[in-house]
């Protein structure tokens, strides 16, 4: 990995306003968990798994954080013209993609993992944890790799990466995969649910995991690897166009 590009990318992320929005997003589940603690007693395990960790973290916070980061680490550079300072260097395109992926994933993990762990532990306080929080936390790590890889690929392929990414998250994962069970093999959220289910040991079905844990692990890892491979291939043929 190219450490110069990695550190440059981290500085770029830190300097963008979008990054603030991302940290704002991460606070939401923690606040929801605090409100839940103060409110009426429900089944804590079920609420934590289904509502907090699945509906809020896996469905909204995780994909949106990765979308913001994945599409901006390369896409914003192309948009503002600074990509030329990296591309006009004798550096293998693989190194550029890996450095961008590592930087985006690291920041995504710094946002999503604490949000998952803290909000999960707050919500389940007083009840048996049974590996739910740890299961979802580990699942988000695989989710970060798959989503970030996918969104980086999108940003190398099209200038409308953000829009297409939003459509994937809200239309494909939010609606299509709920309506057509067979499509869950193409949903990173369902890979994560499978992984969380594999690690947790509640003994009862607290959340809906249609895919097995092993399937989830393999598919999430494969999705990340294939996306990065294709992003490198695409970057090797990347054309930088500017108005004459």
């Amino acid at each position: 990995m190219n450490s110069t590009i990695f550190s440059l990318t981290l500085q770029q992320i830190a300097g963008r306003r979008r990054s603030l929005a991302m940290f704002g997003l991460a606070i939401v589940p923690v606040l929801v968990a605090l409100v839940f603690q103060l409110g009426e007693r429900l089944d804590q395990q079920e609420w934590t798994a289904n509502v907090l960790l699945d509906d809020i973290i896996l469905t909204i916070v995780l994909p949106l954080t990765c979308l913001i980061l994945g599409t901006s680490v390369f896409g914003s550079e192309v948009e503002d013209g600074t990509a030329v300072y990296i591309l006009a260097k004798p550096i293998q395109r693989r190194q550029i993609i890996i450095a961008k992926f590592a930087a985006a994933s690291l920041v995504a993990a710094a946002v999503v993992v604490p949000a998952t762990a803290i909000s999960g532990l707050l919500a389940i306080q007083g009840a048996s944890e049974d590996g739910i929080v740890i299961g979802f936390t580990i699942a988000t790590l695989f989710g970060i790799a798959a989503y970030t890889g996918g969104f980086i690929l999108l940003s190398v392929v099209t200038s409308r990466a953000l829009l297409i990414g939003l459509a994937y998250v809200f239309i494909w994962e939010g609606i299509a995969t709920e309506l057509f069970t067979g499509t869950r093999f193409l949903s990173i959220r369902h890979y994560c649910l499978g992984i969380a289910d594999l690690i947790s040991s509640t003994g009862k079905q607290n959340f809906e995991a249609e895919l097995g844990g092993a399937e989830g692990l393999v598919l999430a890892s494969a999705a990340a690897a294939i996306a990065l491979f294709l992003a490198v291939r695409r970057l090797q043929r990347f054309e930088l166009t500017e108005p004459d």
């Binding site: 190219n2 110069t4 590009i5 440059l8 500085q11 770029q12 830190a14 300097g15 503002d80 013209g81 600074t82 030329v84 300072y85 990296i86 591309l87 006009a88 260097k89 004798p90 550096i91 293998q92 395109r93 090797q236 043929r237 054309e239 930088l240 166009t241 500017e242 108005p243 004459d244």
Partner: protein, 308 residues
């Protein structure tokens, strides 16, 4: 690889189109050491040509070779090529020194700090090197971009409108730098839509119009073509009719048209004509109100060259 080949930039029947729009049309040339100006109006295809040279655009047809190697999909060629893009965007959170140092590291230099210091010295930016790029003027950004592009001491330097935003002093300094680099045997190609810039620095000129190579070669020869072309002047005087009669007799004039409130005069000898008009007016005791060339835009000069 011989030095001569190392410094060569070649376009071989290169074309580039975007859908149905032809941006560059069947251009061939070969450049060696020295300074070459890519001259043409905005939208002529200069940036597209530079981007093909820089390996950022695949030629739709033909070939672009840098130092004997194909430019497209060849990241290794950047070891010997420096590029200064036209766009002003630059990492706002870095200082000038950090920006050039980052460039040196990305080029994989053994002593990036020393190389960055040397490049910053070459563009005379030491006094501002510790300031954030965000606060740089346009001219300062141009100079620090040049420093980042020459930090690895490339044989070939490609610059897209490098003098944009620079003040006259900065422009002279940059021109001196490029002249020194060219004298050291480097190949420098820069694009510009300003005739004067090209005239002052380029030994060799490629005139690009509507994606085609309209003229190429020594600047003086091209300049002669430009000045010897027919010129049109608008002339207003106290007695346009009498002035028209007197001017028609002069050999520098080959057409006079009498309009409502002015004359339109065509001449093929720009310099002679502007000396003749006051003299004739004085001899005829006519007061001259206005003498204005009507077709001096760069576009009109270029379009004349295309028609030839």
């Amino acid at each position: 690889m011989s030095t001569q080949l190392t410094n060569t930039v070649e376009l071989i029947n290169a074309s580039r189109w975007y859908g149905n729009v032809v941006a560059v049309n069947d251009i061939s040339f070969s450049l060696g050491p020295g300074i070459t100006g890519l001259l043409g109006p905005n939208g002529a295809g200069k940036t597209t040509i530079l981007h093909m040279m820089a390996g950022f655009l695949r030629p739709s047809k033909g070939d672009v070779r840098i130092a004997g190697q194909r430019a497209w999909r060849n990241h290794e060629m950047y070891r010997d090529v420096g590029l200064v893009p036209e766009r002003e965007a630059i990492y706002p959170f870095l200082t000038g020194f950090q920006f050039v140092l980052t460039s040196a590291k990305l080029f994989g230099l053994s002593d990036p700090t020393a190389a960055a210091r040397k490049a910053i010295h070459a563009v005379d930016m030491e006094s501002a090197q510790d300031r954030k790029l965000d606060g740089y003027s346009k001219g300062m950004k141009q100079r620090i971009k040049v420093a980042a592009a020459i930090v690895h001491d490339p044989h070939i330097l490609l610059l897209d409108e490098p003098f944009n935003g620079t003040d006259p002093t900065q422009r002279l300094q940059m021109m001196d730098l490029f002249r020194k680099m060219a004298a050291d045997g480097r190949t420098i190609v820069f694009s510009s839509h300003i005739l004067d810039e090209v005239e002052r620095i380029a030994e060799n000129v490629l005139v690009i119009i509507a994606g085609r190579l309209a003229a190429s070669g020594d600047f003086r020869a091209i300049r002669r073509l430009m000045t010897d072309r027919p010129h049109t002047f608008k002339v207003r005087s106290s007695d346009d009719r009498r002035l028209a009669t007197a001017l028609v007799a002069d050999q520098s004039v080959f057409g006079v048209e009498l309009n409502d409130d002015h004359l339109t005069v065509r001449t093929s000898q720009y310099d002679d004509f502007i000396r003749v008009v006051p003299r004739v007016a004085k001899a005829e005791d006519i007061r001259l109100h206005e003498l204005l060339p009507t077709d001096e835009s760069l576009e009109s000069v270029f379009s004349y060259l295309v028609k030839r």
